[in-house]
Protein backbone atom coordinates (compact mmCIF):
# COMPACT_ATOMS: atom_id res chain seq x y z
CA UNK A 1 0.00 0.00 0.00
CA UNK A 2 1.29 3.39 -0.89
CA UNK A 3 0.11 6.51 0.79
CA UNK A 4 0.66 9.93 -0.71
CA UNK A 5 1.86 12.43 1.79
CA UNK A 6 2.50 16.13 1.43
CA UNK A 7 6.21 16.80 1.40
CA UNK A 8 7.63 18.14 4.61
CA UNK A 9 11.11 18.81 3.30
CA UNK A 10 12.20 19.36 -0.25
CA UNK A 11 14.14 16.42 -1.61
CA UNK A 12 16.98 18.55 -2.79
CA UNK A 13 18.05 21.30 -0.37
CA UNK A 14 19.51 22.88 -3.44
CA UNK A 15 22.41 25.29 -3.23
CA UNK A 16 22.32 27.74 -6.12
CA UNK A 17 25.17 25.88 -7.78
CA UNK A 18 23.08 22.79 -8.28
CA UNK A 19 20.53 24.85 -10.10
CA UNK A 20 21.02 23.90 -13.70
CA UNK A 21 22.23 20.42 -12.93
CA UNK A 22 22.47 18.75 -16.27
CA UNK A 23 22.65 15.00 -16.11
CA UNK A 24 24.23 13.95 -19.35
CA UNK A 25 26.98 15.31 -21.50
CA UNK A 26 25.82 18.50 -23.25
CA UNK A 27 26.33 17.16 -26.76
CA UNK A 28 24.49 19.85 -28.69
CA UNK A 29 26.23 22.79 -26.98
CA UNK A 30 29.62 21.19 -27.52
CA UNK A 31 28.83 20.57 -31.18
CA UNK A 32 27.76 24.21 -31.55
CA UNK A 33 30.96 25.48 -29.94
CA UNK A 34 33.08 23.14 -32.07
CA UNK A 35 31.29 24.28 -35.22
CA UNK A 36 31.84 27.93 -34.36
CA UNK A 37 35.49 27.20 -33.62
CA UNK A 38 35.98 25.37 -36.93
CA UNK A 39 34.19 28.12 -38.82
CA UNK A 40 36.47 30.64 -37.14
CA UNK A 41 39.60 28.71 -38.12
CA UNK A 42 38.55 28.08 -41.71
CA UNK A 43 36.79 31.40 -42.25
CA UNK A 44 38.94 32.21 -45.30
CA UNK A 45 37.96 28.97 -47.00
CA UNK A 46 34.31 28.98 -46.01
CA UNK A 47 33.31 32.56 -46.64
CA UNK A 48 31.97 33.07 -50.16
CA UNK A 49 32.86 36.78 -50.25
CA UNK A 50 35.24 39.27 -48.73
CA UNK A 51 33.49 40.32 -45.50
CA UNK A 52 34.70 43.91 -45.70
CA UNK A 53 33.93 44.76 -49.29
CA UNK A 54 30.47 45.18 -50.69
CA UNK A 55 28.78 46.77 -53.61
CA UNK A 56 26.20 49.47 -53.01
CA UNK A 57 24.21 48.19 -55.93
CA UNK A 58 23.56 45.00 -54.00
CA UNK A 59 22.59 46.53 -50.67
CA UNK A 60 19.74 45.22 -48.50
CA UNK A 61 19.27 41.96 -50.39
CA UNK A 62 17.12 39.66 -48.23
CA UNK A 63 18.07 36.03 -47.51
CA UNK A 64 17.67 33.55 -50.35
CA UNK A 65 14.33 32.12 -49.23
CA UNK A 66 12.63 35.50 -49.14
CA UNK A 67 11.20 37.30 -52.09
CA UNK A 68 13.95 39.23 -53.84
CA UNK A 69 16.69 37.06 -52.37
CA UNK A 70 19.09 35.02 -54.42
CA UNK A 71 21.36 32.03 -53.92
CA UNK A 72 24.30 34.31 -54.55
CA UNK A 73 23.81 35.83 -51.12
CA UNK A 74 22.37 33.08 -48.98
CA UNK A 75 21.75 35.24 -45.95
CA UNK A 76 21.34 38.54 -47.78
CA UNK A 77 23.46 41.66 -47.78
CA UNK A 78 23.81 44.64 -45.45
CA UNK A 79 23.51 48.42 -45.83
CA UNK A 80 26.63 48.67 -47.96
CA UNK A 81 26.01 45.48 -49.88
CA UNK A 82 28.37 43.18 -47.98
CA UNK A 83 27.51 39.49 -47.80
CA UNK A 84 25.96 38.74 -44.40
CA UNK A 85 26.99 35.07 -44.39
CA UNK A 86 30.63 35.96 -44.98
CA UNK A 87 30.51 38.56 -42.24
CA UNK A 88 28.94 36.09 -39.82
CA UNK A 89 31.67 33.57 -40.63
CA UNK A 90 34.44 36.06 -40.02
CA UNK A 91 32.53 37.36 -36.99
CA UNK A 92 32.92 33.91 -35.44
CA UNK A 93 36.66 34.41 -35.68
CA UNK A 94 36.48 37.76 -33.88
CA UNK A 95 34.26 36.37 -31.11
CA UNK A 96 36.42 33.30 -30.63
CA UNK A 97 39.71 35.20 -30.56
CA UNK A 98 38.45 37.93 -28.28
CA UNK A 99 36.50 35.57 -26.04
CA UNK A 100 39.21 32.99 -25.54
CA UNK A 101 42.15 35.33 -25.14
CA UNK A 102 40.25 37.64 -22.80
CA UNK A 103 39.22 34.68 -20.64
CA UNK A 104 42.79 33.38 -20.62
CA UNK A 105 44.08 36.80 -19.69
CA UNK A 106 41.51 37.38 -16.93
CA UNK A 107 41.89 33.78 -15.80
CA UNK A 108 45.65 33.81 -15.46
CA UNK A 109 45.79 37.17 -13.71
CA UNK A 110 42.88 36.28 -11.43
CA UNK A 111 44.17 32.81 -10.63
CA UNK A 112 47.68 34.01 -9.81
CA UNK A 113 46.43 36.85 -7.63
CA UNK A 114 43.81 34.60 -6.03
CA UNK A 115 46.46 32.03 -5.08
CA UNK A 116 48.88 34.65 -3.79
CA UNK A 117 46.13 36.38 -1.86
CA UNK A 118 44.68 33.21 -0.41
CA UNK A 119 47.94 31.47 0.41
CA UNK A 120 50.07 34.30 1.71
CA UNK A 121 47.20 36.02 3.50
CA UNK A 122 47.91 39.14 5.54
CA UNK A 123 49.02 42.23 3.70
CA UNK A 124 48.97 40.81 0.17
CA UNK A 125 45.52 39.36 0.78
CA UNK A 126 44.17 42.68 2.04
CA UNK A 127 45.44 44.59 -0.98
CA UNK A 128 44.11 42.13 -3.56
CA UNK A 129 40.75 41.71 -1.86
CA UNK A 130 40.16 45.41 -1.26
CA UNK A 131 40.95 46.20 -4.89
CA UNK A 132 38.66 43.36 -5.94
CA UNK A 133 35.84 44.72 -3.78
CA UNK A 134 36.28 48.23 -5.14
CA UNK A 135 36.40 47.10 -8.77
CA UNK A 136 33.45 44.80 -8.41
CA UNK A 137 31.37 47.80 -7.39
CA UNK A 138 31.44 48.97 -10.98
CA UNK A 139 29.10 47.11 -13.33
CA UNK A 140 31.32 45.24 -15.78
CA UNK A 141 29.91 46.91 -18.86
CA UNK A 142 30.22 50.43 -17.41
CA UNK A 143 33.79 49.76 -16.36
CA UNK A 144 34.62 48.36 -19.79
CA UNK A 145 33.07 51.39 -21.51
CA UNK A 146 35.12 53.70 -19.32
CA UNK A 147 38.35 51.89 -20.16
CA UNK A 148 37.45 51.75 -23.84
CA UNK A 149 36.83 55.49 -23.80
CA UNK A 150 40.36 56.00 -22.46
CA UNK A 151 42.40 53.61 -24.56
CA UNK A 152 40.30 53.76 -27.69
CA UNK A 153 38.74 50.87 -29.59
CA UNK A 154 40.79 48.12 -31.17
CA UNK A 155 40.64 44.35 -31.07
CA UNK A 156 43.72 44.12 -28.88
CA UNK A 157 42.49 46.81 -26.50
CA UNK A 158 39.18 45.00 -26.07
CA UNK A 159 40.98 41.87 -24.95
CA UNK A 160 43.05 43.89 -22.51
CA UNK A 161 39.96 45.71 -21.21
CA UNK A 162 37.88 42.57 -20.73
CA UNK A 163 40.77 40.92 -18.91
CA UNK A 164 41.10 43.91 -16.64
CA UNK A 165 37.38 43.95 -15.89
CA UNK A 166 36.91 40.25 -15.26
CA UNK A 167 40.02 39.10 -13.35
CA UNK A 168 38.40 40.18 -10.09
CA UNK A 169 35.69 37.54 -10.42
CA UNK A 170 38.36 34.88 -10.79
CA UNK A 171 40.46 36.15 -7.92
CA UNK A 172 37.61 36.02 -5.47
CA UNK A 173 36.57 32.44 -6.26
CA UNK A 174 40.11 31.08 -6.48
CA UNK A 175 41.07 32.73 -3.21
CA UNK A 176 38.15 30.99 -1.49
CA UNK A 177 39.33 27.65 -2.88
CA UNK A 178 42.89 28.26 -1.77
CA UNK A 179 41.77 29.11 1.76
CA UNK A 180 40.21 25.68 2.10
CA UNK A 181 43.08 23.88 0.31
CA UNK A 182 45.49 25.48 2.77
CA UNK A 183 43.94 23.44 5.57
CA UNK A 184 44.38 20.17 3.70
CA UNK A 185 46.81 17.47 4.65
CA UNK A 186 48.96 17.55 1.53
CA UNK A 187 49.72 21.23 1.92
CA UNK A 188 50.69 20.72 5.56
CA UNK A 189 52.94 17.85 4.54
CA UNK A 190 54.59 20.04 1.94
CA UNK A 191 55.23 22.68 4.60
CA UNK A 192 56.69 20.11 6.96
CA UNK A 193 58.83 18.76 4.13
CA UNK A 194 60.34 22.20 3.90
CA UNK A 195 58.98 23.32 0.55
CA UNK A 196 59.24 27.03 -0.05
CA UNK A 197 56.07 29.07 -0.29
CA UNK A 198 56.63 29.50 -4.00
CA UNK A 199 56.93 25.76 -4.59
CA UNK A 200 53.81 25.10 -2.52
CA UNK A 201 51.80 27.69 -4.39
CA UNK A 202 52.77 26.61 -7.89
CA UNK A 203 53.41 22.89 -7.45
CA UNK A 204 50.76 21.99 -4.89
CA UNK A 205 48.02 24.62 -4.87
CA UNK A 206 47.84 25.57 -8.55
CA UNK A 207 47.13 22.07 -9.90
CA UNK A 208 44.28 21.80 -7.42
CA UNK A 209 42.54 24.98 -8.43
CA UNK A 210 42.86 24.35 -12.17
CA UNK A 211 39.51 22.55 -12.25
CA UNK A 212 37.74 25.52 -10.75
CA UNK A 213 39.56 27.86 -13.09
CA UNK A 214 38.45 25.83 -16.12
CA UNK A 215 34.83 25.75 -14.99
CA UNK A 216 34.85 29.43 -14.26
CA UNK A 217 36.53 30.15 -17.58
CA UNK A 218 33.86 28.29 -19.54
CA UNK A 219 31.10 30.16 -17.74
CA UNK A 220 33.04 33.40 -18.18
CA UNK A 221 33.37 32.80 -21.93
CA UNK A 222 29.66 33.52 -22.34
CA UNK A 223 29.83 36.66 -20.22
CA UNK A 224 32.89 37.96 -22.03
CA UNK A 225 31.37 37.39 -25.46
CA UNK A 226 28.19 39.25 -24.49
CA UNK A 227 30.24 42.14 -23.13
CA UNK A 228 32.38 42.26 -26.24
CA UNK A 229 29.27 42.30 -28.39
CA UNK A 230 27.73 45.03 -26.24
CA UNK A 231 30.88 47.14 -26.52
CA UNK A 232 30.96 46.66 -30.27
CA UNK A 233 27.26 47.45 -30.43
CA UNK A 234 27.90 50.72 -28.59
CA UNK A 235 30.77 51.59 -30.91
CA UNK A 236 33.60 51.20 -28.41
CA UNK A 237 34.45 47.61 -29.23
CA UNK A 238 35.92 46.11 -32.32
CA UNK A 239 36.19 49.00 -34.78
CA UNK A 240 34.52 48.85 -38.20
CA UNK A 241 34.78 47.55 -40.84
CA UNK A 242 35.82 44.39 -38.99
CA UNK A 243 32.90 41.97 -38.92
CA UNK A 244 32.10 41.59 -35.20
CA UNK A 245 28.62 40.27 -34.43
CA UNK A 246 27.80 43.10 -32.02
CA UNK A 247 28.89 45.65 -34.58
CA UNK A 248 26.78 43.98 -37.26
CA UNK A 249 23.74 44.35 -35.02
CA UNK A 250 24.46 48.03 -34.43
CA UNK A 251 24.77 48.57 -38.20
CA UNK A 252 21.64 46.54 -38.83
CA UNK A 253 19.61 48.71 -36.47
CA UNK A 254 19.02 51.30 -39.17
CA UNK A 255 17.50 48.75 -41.48
CA UNK A 256 15.32 47.25 -38.78
CA UNK A 257 12.56 49.85 -39.05
CA UNK A 258 11.95 49.01 -42.68
CA UNK A 259 11.90 45.30 -41.98
CA UNK A 260 15.49 44.24 -42.81
CA UNK A 261 15.35 41.78 -39.94
CA UNK A 262 18.20 39.53 -41.04
CA UNK A 263 20.83 42.17 -40.32
CA UNK A 264 20.12 42.13 -36.57
CA UNK A 265 18.45 38.80 -35.91
CA UNK A 266 21.09 36.59 -37.55
CA UNK A 267 24.10 37.93 -35.67
CA UNK A 268 21.94 37.97 -32.53
CA UNK A 269 21.20 34.28 -32.94
CA UNK A 270 24.92 33.57 -33.40
CA UNK A 271 25.74 35.37 -30.14
CA UNK A 272 22.90 33.65 -28.36
CA UNK A 273 23.91 30.17 -29.54
CA UNK A 274 27.50 30.68 -28.52
CA UNK A 275 26.67 32.10 -25.09
CA UNK A 276 24.02 29.49 -24.34
CA UNK A 277 26.38 26.71 -25.37
CA UNK A 278 29.19 28.06 -23.23
CA UNK A 279 26.85 28.35 -20.23
CA UNK A 280 25.45 24.85 -20.64
CA UNK A 281 28.92 23.37 -21.03
CA UNK A 282 30.14 25.34 -18.04
CA UNK A 283 27.29 24.12 -15.87
CA UNK A 284 27.93 20.56 -16.84
CA UNK A 285 31.65 20.94 -16.17
CA UNK A 286 30.90 22.50 -12.81
CA UNK A 287 28.88 19.51 -11.72
CA UNK A 288 31.39 17.13 -13.23
CA UNK A 289 34.69 18.60 -12.16
CA UNK A 290 33.97 20.62 -9.15
CA UNK A 291 30.89 20.09 -7.06
CA UNK A 292 32.40 22.27 -4.36
CA UNK A 293 32.44 25.39 -6.47
CA UNK A 294 29.53 27.19 -4.97
CA UNK A 295 30.09 30.73 -6.08
CA UNK A 296 29.16 32.46 -9.28
Amino acid sequence: MTVTTPPIVATEPSPPAAFWRTQGFPLVPVLILLTIALVAVFADVLAPYDPQIGSLALRYRPPAWQEGGSMAHLLGTDHVGRDVLSRLIFGARVSMIVGITAVLFAGSVGTVLGIVSGYLGGWADQVVMRVTDAWLALPALTFAIFLAAIVGPSELNIIFILGLVYWTRYARVIRGEVLSLKQREFVRLAIVAGCSKRVIMWRHILPNVINSAVVLGTLMLGVVIVTEAALSFLGVGVPPPKPAWGLMMADGKQGLMVGHWWLTVLPGICIMLMVLSANLLGDWLRVKLDPQLRQL
Binding site: T2, T5, P6, P7, I8, A10
Partner: protein
Protein backbone atom coordinates in the same frame (compact mmCIF):
# COMPACT_ATOMS: atom_id res chain seq x y z
CA UNK B 1 -8.12 1.82 31.53
CA UNK B 2 -10.44 1.06 28.67
CA UNK B 3 -9.59 -1.97 26.60
CA UNK B 4 -9.68 0.05 23.38
CA UNK B 5 -6.31 1.74 22.91
CA UNK B 6 -6.16 5.38 21.78
CA UNK B 7 -3.54 4.60 19.17
CA UNK B 8 -2.42 1.27 17.90
CA UNK B 9 0.13 0.71 15.19
CA UNK B 10 -0.07 -2.65 13.53
CA UNK B 11 2.90 -3.87 11.50
CA UNK B 12 3.68 -0.36 10.35
CA UNK B 13 6.53 -0.03 7.84
CA UNK B 14 7.94 3.14 6.34
CA UNK B 15 10.66 2.96 3.73
CA UNK B 16 12.83 5.54 2.07
CA UNK B 17 13.30 4.83 -1.60
CA UNK B 18 16.10 6.53 -3.53
CA UNK B 19 15.21 8.19 -6.80
CA UNK B 20 16.21 5.30 -9.00
CA UNK B 21 14.54 2.94 -6.56
CA UNK B 22 17.81 1.12 -6.17
CA UNK B 23 18.32 1.65 -2.47
CA UNK B 24 15.59 0.99 0.03
CA UNK B 25 16.03 2.12 3.60
CA UNK B 26 13.71 0.44 6.06
CA UNK B 27 13.47 3.34 8.46
CA UNK B 28 10.44 1.86 10.20
CA UNK B 29 10.11 -1.89 9.86
CA UNK B 30 7.09 -3.87 11.03
CA UNK B 31 6.35 -1.86 14.15
CA UNK B 32 3.45 -2.85 16.37
CA UNK B 33 2.72 -0.58 19.31
CA UNK B 34 -0.24 0.64 21.26
CA UNK B 35 -0.98 3.47 23.63
CA UNK B 36 -4.00 4.05 25.87
CA UNK B 37 -5.66 7.38 26.45
CA UNK B 38 -3.72 9.37 29.02
CA UNK B 39 -0.78 6.98 28.88
CA UNK B 40 2.86 7.85 28.27
CA UNK B 41 4.99 5.89 25.87
CA UNK B 42 8.72 6.45 25.64
CA UNK B 43 10.47 5.56 22.42
CA UNK B 44 14.21 5.13 22.84
CA UNK B 45 16.95 4.42 20.37
CA UNK B 46 20.15 5.70 18.87
CA UNK B 47 19.94 8.40 16.22
CA UNK B 48 19.02 6.80 12.93
CA UNK B 49 17.04 4.04 14.61
CA UNK B 50 13.84 5.31 12.98
CA UNK B 51 12.11 6.89 15.96
CA UNK B 52 11.59 10.29 14.34
CA UNK B 53 10.40 8.67 11.11
CA UNK B 54 7.95 6.68 13.20
CA UNK B 55 6.59 9.90 14.73
CA UNK B 56 6.25 11.58 11.32
CA UNK B 57 4.60 8.44 9.96
CA UNK B 58 1.87 8.70 12.57
CA UNK B 59 1.18 12.25 11.38
CA UNK B 60 1.73 11.27 7.74
CA UNK B 61 4.14 14.16 7.26
CA UNK B 62 7.04 12.35 5.68
CA UNK B 63 9.68 13.64 3.28
CA UNK B 64 8.77 12.90 -0.36
CA UNK B 65 11.27 10.05 -0.55
CA UNK B 66 9.59 8.21 2.32
CA UNK B 67 6.53 5.98 1.90
CA UNK B 68 4.39 4.13 4.37
CA UNK B 69 4.49 0.73 2.68
CA UNK B 70 2.40 -1.36 4.96
CA UNK B 71 0.46 -1.76 8.18
CA UNK B 72 -2.35 0.06 9.89
CA UNK B 73 -2.52 3.01 12.25
CA UNK B 74 -5.74 2.96 14.28
CA UNK B 75 -6.38 6.21 16.11
CA UNK B 76 -9.64 6.51 18.06
CA UNK B 77 -11.04 3.63 16.05
CA UNK B 78 -10.14 5.00 12.61
CA UNK B 79 -7.31 3.92 10.36
CA UNK B 80 -5.26 7.07 9.69
CA UNK B 81 -3.98 5.52 6.47
CA UNK B 82 -7.50 5.53 5.03
CA UNK B 83 -7.89 9.27 5.48
CA UNK B 84 -7.63 11.73 2.62
CA UNK B 85 -4.96 14.45 2.78
CA UNK B 86 -7.56 17.01 3.86
CA UNK B 87 -8.97 14.76 6.57
CA UNK B 88 -5.45 14.06 7.75
CA UNK B 89 -4.72 17.77 7.93
CA UNK B 90 -7.69 18.15 10.28
CA UNK B 91 -6.18 15.53 12.56
CA UNK B 92 -2.83 17.33 12.76
CA UNK B 93 -2.66 19.95 15.46
CA UNK B 94 -6.25 19.20 16.44
CA UNK B 95 -6.27 15.60 17.62
CA UNK B 96 -2.59 14.70 17.36
CA UNK B 97 0.00 17.39 17.98
CA UNK B 98 3.75 17.23 17.86
CA UNK B 99 6.57 19.21 19.43
CA UNK B 100 9.85 19.46 17.55
CA UNK B 101 13.26 19.39 19.14
CA UNK B 102 14.68 22.76 18.19
CA UNK B 103 12.82 25.58 19.94
CA UNK B 104 15.10 28.19 18.37
CA UNK B 105 14.07 27.24 14.85
CA UNK B 106 10.50 26.06 15.41
CA UNK B 107 8.95 29.50 15.67
CA UNK B 108 8.54 31.72 12.65
CA UNK B 109 10.64 34.85 13.23
CA UNK B 110 8.21 37.12 11.40
CA UNK B 111 5.00 36.58 13.38
CA UNK B 112 4.03 37.46 16.91
CA UNK B 113 3.76 34.77 19.56
CA UNK B 114 0.01 35.33 19.82
CA UNK B 115 -0.42 34.87 16.10
CA UNK B 116 1.48 31.59 16.10
CA UNK B 117 -0.07 30.16 19.24
CA UNK B 118 -3.58 31.12 18.15
CA UNK B 119 -3.15 29.84 14.61
CA UNK B 120 -4.30 26.23 15.15
CA UNK B 121 -7.35 27.51 17.05
CA UNK B 122 -8.31 29.76 14.18
CA UNK B 123 -7.76 27.07 11.58
CA UNK B 124 -9.32 24.13 13.37
CA UNK B 125 -12.06 25.80 15.36
CA UNK B 126 -12.75 28.78 13.15
CA UNK B 127 -12.18 31.13 16.06
CA UNK B 128 -12.04 34.87 15.42
CA UNK B 129 -8.76 36.71 15.56
CA UNK B 130 -9.70 38.29 18.90
CA UNK B 131 -10.83 35.13 20.61
CA UNK B 132 -7.81 33.18 19.32
CA UNK B 133 -5.64 35.91 20.79
CA UNK B 134 -7.36 35.58 24.15
CA UNK B 135 -6.93 31.84 24.08
CA UNK B 136 -3.26 32.37 23.25
CA UNK B 137 -2.84 34.48 26.38
CA UNK B 138 -4.50 31.77 28.45
CA UNK B 139 -2.30 29.11 26.86
CA UNK B 140 0.87 31.08 27.61
CA UNK B 141 -0.31 31.33 31.17
CA UNK B 142 -0.91 27.59 31.32
CA UNK B 143 2.66 26.91 30.18
CA UNK B 144 3.79 29.25 32.97
CA UNK B 145 5.08 32.16 30.99
CA UNK B 146 5.30 35.25 33.15
CA UNK B 147 3.22 38.27 32.10
CA UNK B 148 1.55 36.53 29.16
CA UNK B 149 -0.38 39.68 28.21
CA UNK B 150 2.84 41.42 27.13
CA UNK B 151 4.61 38.30 25.87
CA UNK B 152 1.78 37.44 23.54
CA UNK B 153 2.44 40.40 21.28
CA UNK B 154 6.20 39.94 21.26
CA UNK B 155 8.31 38.13 18.67
CA UNK B 156 10.37 34.94 18.96
CA UNK B 157 13.74 36.70 19.05
CA UNK B 158 12.67 38.44 22.26
CA UNK B 159 12.35 35.09 24.07
CA UNK B 160 14.85 32.78 25.72
CA UNK B 161 15.25 29.20 24.56
CA UNK B 162 13.28 27.76 27.48
CA UNK B 163 10.46 30.20 26.88
CA UNK B 164 10.33 29.36 23.21
CA UNK B 165 10.13 25.67 23.95
CA UNK B 166 7.23 26.31 26.32
CA UNK B 167 5.56 28.37 23.60
CA UNK B 168 5.98 25.44 21.22
CA UNK B 169 4.36 23.33 23.94
CA UNK B 170 1.50 25.82 24.14
CA UNK B 171 1.01 25.49 20.38
CA UNK B 172 0.93 21.72 20.81
CA UNK B 173 -1.88 21.76 23.37
CA UNK B 174 -3.77 24.69 21.85
CA UNK B 175 -6.58 22.59 20.41
CA UNK B 176 -6.63 20.12 23.29
CA UNK B 177 -5.36 17.14 21.29
CA UNK B 178 -5.78 13.58 22.54
CA UNK B 179 -2.19 12.70 21.71
CA UNK B 180 0.97 14.75 21.92
CA UNK B 181 4.18 13.52 20.34
CA UNK B 182 7.33 15.13 21.71
CA UNK B 183 10.46 14.52 19.60
CA UNK B 184 13.44 15.05 21.89
CA UNK B 185 11.88 18.26 23.18
CA UNK B 186 14.60 19.04 25.69
CA UNK B 187 17.90 18.22 23.99
CA UNK B 188 18.77 21.82 23.30
CA UNK B 189 17.77 23.17 26.71
CA UNK B 190 19.81 23.80 29.85
CA UNK B 191 19.65 21.17 32.55
CA UNK B 192 17.49 23.13 35.00
CA UNK B 193 15.18 24.31 32.25
CA UNK B 194 14.90 20.72 31.04
CA UNK B 195 13.64 19.58 34.42
CA UNK B 196 11.14 22.44 34.59
CA UNK B 197 9.91 21.67 31.12
CA UNK B 198 9.44 18.00 31.85
CA UNK B 199 7.44 18.85 34.96
CA UNK B 200 5.33 21.20 32.89
CA UNK B 201 4.64 18.52 30.28
CA UNK B 202 3.60 16.09 33.01
CA UNK B 203 1.26 18.58 34.59
CA UNK B 204 -0.27 19.45 31.24
CA UNK B 205 -0.73 15.78 30.54
CA UNK B 206 -2.61 15.29 33.80
CA UNK B 207 -4.75 18.39 33.38
CA UNK B 208 -5.80 17.65 29.84
CA UNK B 209 -5.80 13.88 29.92
CA UNK B 210 -3.26 13.80 27.09
CA UNK B 211 -1.60 10.70 25.86
CA UNK B 212 2.09 11.36 25.35
CA UNK B 213 4.67 9.78 23.08
CA UNK B 214 8.09 10.77 24.23
CA UNK B 215 10.92 10.29 21.77
CA UNK B 216 14.32 10.50 23.38
CA UNK B 217 17.66 8.85 23.75
CA UNK B 218 17.83 9.72 27.41
CA UNK B 219 16.70 6.80 29.56
CA UNK B 220 16.64 9.02 32.64
CA UNK B 221 13.82 11.00 31.08
CA UNK B 222 11.99 7.79 30.28
CA UNK B 223 12.25 6.66 33.88
CA UNK B 224 10.81 9.94 35.03
CA UNK B 225 8.12 10.50 32.45
CA UNK B 226 6.88 7.27 30.95
CA UNK B 227 4.91 4.22 31.94
CA UNK B 228 5.45 2.30 28.70
CA UNK B 229 8.72 1.93 26.83
CA UNK B 230 9.59 0.85 23.33
CA UNK B 231 13.24 0.36 22.40
CA UNK B 232 14.04 0.80 18.73
CA UNK B 233 16.98 -0.56 16.84
CA UNK B 234 17.46 -0.38 13.07
CA UNK B 235 13.83 0.52 12.42
CA UNK B 236 12.38 -2.23 14.58
CA UNK B 237 10.99 -2.27 18.09
CA UNK B 238 13.31 -4.76 19.78
CA UNK B 239 11.64 -4.64 23.15
CA UNK B 240 8.57 -3.04 24.62
CA UNK B 241 6.57 -3.14 27.79
CA UNK B 242 6.00 -1.35 31.09
CA UNK B 243 8.98 0.81 32.05
CA UNK B 244 9.40 -0.64 35.53
CA UNK B 245 9.60 -4.22 34.31
CA UNK B 246 11.97 -3.47 31.47
CA UNK B 247 14.23 -1.53 33.80
CA UNK B 248 14.31 -4.29 36.37
CA UNK B 249 14.73 -7.17 33.94
CA UNK B 250 15.57 -6.20 30.35
CA UNK B 251 14.97 -9.06 27.96
CA UNK B 252 16.88 -7.88 24.87
CA UNK B 253 20.67 -7.63 24.93
CA UNK B 254 20.42 -4.20 23.34
CA UNK B 255 18.14 -2.92 26.10
CA UNK B 256 20.49 -4.46 28.60
CA UNK B 257 23.40 -2.61 27.02
CA UNK B 258 21.46 0.65 27.07
CA UNK B 259 20.64 0.19 30.73
CA UNK B 260 24.21 -0.84 31.50
CA UNK B 261 25.16 2.72 32.20
CA UNK B 262 21.78 4.21 32.82
CA UNK B 263 22.08 7.91 33.37
CA UNK B 264 20.48 9.09 36.56
CA UNK B 265 17.65 11.53 36.30
CA UNK B 266 19.92 14.44 37.09
CA UNK B 267 22.52 13.25 34.66
CA UNK B 268 22.68 15.29 31.52
CA UNK B 269 24.62 12.80 29.49
CA UNK B 270 23.16 12.79 26.02
CA UNK B 271 24.92 9.71 24.82
CA UNK B 272 23.90 6.24 25.56
CA UNK B 273 26.30 3.60 26.69
CA UNK B 274 29.26 2.92 24.58
CA UNK B 275 28.05 -0.16 22.77
CA UNK B 276 30.78 -1.66 20.68
CA UNK B 277 30.59 -1.26 16.93
CA UNK B 278 28.63 1.05 14.72
CA UNK B 279 24.89 1.36 14.29
CA UNK B 280 24.06 -0.58 11.13
CA UNK B 281 23.61 0.88 7.67
CA UNK B 282 19.87 0.65 7.21
CA UNK B 283 20.15 0.17 3.47
CA UNK B 284 22.25 -2.98 3.81
CA UNK B 285 21.23 -4.82 6.91
CA UNK B 286 22.71 -8.19 7.84
CA UNK B 287 20.53 -11.19 6.98
CA UNK B 288 19.68 -12.16 10.55
CA UNK B 289 19.11 -9.97 13.58
CA UNK B 290 20.25 -6.41 12.88
CA UNK B 291 21.89 -6.19 16.29
CA UNK B 292 23.76 -9.48 16.00
CA UNK B 293 27.10 -8.00 14.82
CA UNK B 294 27.28 -5.91 18.00
CA UNK B 295 25.59 -8.36 20.32
CA UNK B 296 27.77 -9.96 23.00
CA UNK B 297 25.38 -12.90 23.30
CA UNK B 298 24.70 -13.63 19.66
CA UNK B 299 24.35 -17.25 18.66
CA UNK B 300 24.74 -18.75 15.20
CA UNK B 301 21.03 -18.57 14.49
CA UNK B 302 21.01 -14.78 15.13
CA UNK B 303 23.20 -14.23 12.09
CA UNK B 304 21.10 -16.14 9.63
CA UNK B 305 17.50 -15.72 10.71
CA UNK B 306 15.73 -12.61 11.98
CA UNK B 307 14.11 -13.27 15.36
CA UNK B 308 10.31 -12.98 15.67
CA UNK B 309 8.59 -10.65 18.08
CA UNK B 310 7.74 -12.87 21.03
CA UNK B 311 5.58 -12.17 24.07
CA UNK B 312 7.61 -12.49 27.25
CA UNK B 313 4.92 -11.80 29.75
CA UNK B 314 1.73 -9.74 29.98
CA UNK B 315 2.08 -6.69 27.69
CA UNK B 316 5.72 -7.22 27.01
CA UNK B 317 7.49 -8.36 23.85
CA UNK B 318 11.03 -8.69 22.59
CA UNK B 319 12.63 -9.50 19.25
CA UNK B 320 15.39 -11.84 20.24
CA UNK B 321 16.10 -15.51 19.81
CA UNK B 322 17.24 -15.70 23.39
CA UNK B 323 13.74 -14.71 24.50
CA UNK B 324 12.17 -17.54 22.52
CA UNK B 325 11.43 -20.36 24.95
CA UNK B 326 13.95 -23.17 24.58
CA UNK B 327 16.53 -21.24 22.65
CA UNK B 328 18.32 -19.87 25.71
CA UNK B 329 19.14 -23.35 26.94
CA UNK B 330 20.59 -24.40 23.59
CA UNK B 331 22.61 -21.25 23.43
CA UNK B 332 24.01 -21.83 26.90
CA UNK B 333 25.14 -25.31 26.00
CA UNK B 334 26.66 -24.09 22.76
CA UNK B 335 28.55 -21.42 24.61
CA UNK B 336 29.86 -23.88 27.14
CA UNK B 337 30.92 -26.19 24.31
CA UNK B 338 32.91 -23.43 22.73
CA UNK B 339 34.48 -22.62 26.08
Amino acid sequence: MSSQPLLSLENLSTHYVSQQGARVVRAVDDVTLSLHAGGTLGIVGESGSGKSTLALSILRLLPPAARIVGGRMIFEGENLLDKSDTEMRRVRGKRIAMILQDPMASLNPLFSIGNQVGEPIRVHEGASRASAWERAVALLKSVRIASPETRVSQFPHEMSGGMRQRIVGAIGISCEPRLLIADEPTTSLDLTIQAQYLNLLRDLQREHGLALIFITHNLGIVAKMCDQLAVMYAGQVVEQGPVSRIFSAPAHPYTRALLGSIPRMTDNRQHLTAIEGQPPDLSSLPPGCAFAPRCPMAIARCRVEAPPEVAIDEGRTARCWLAVPGVEATAATMRSNVA
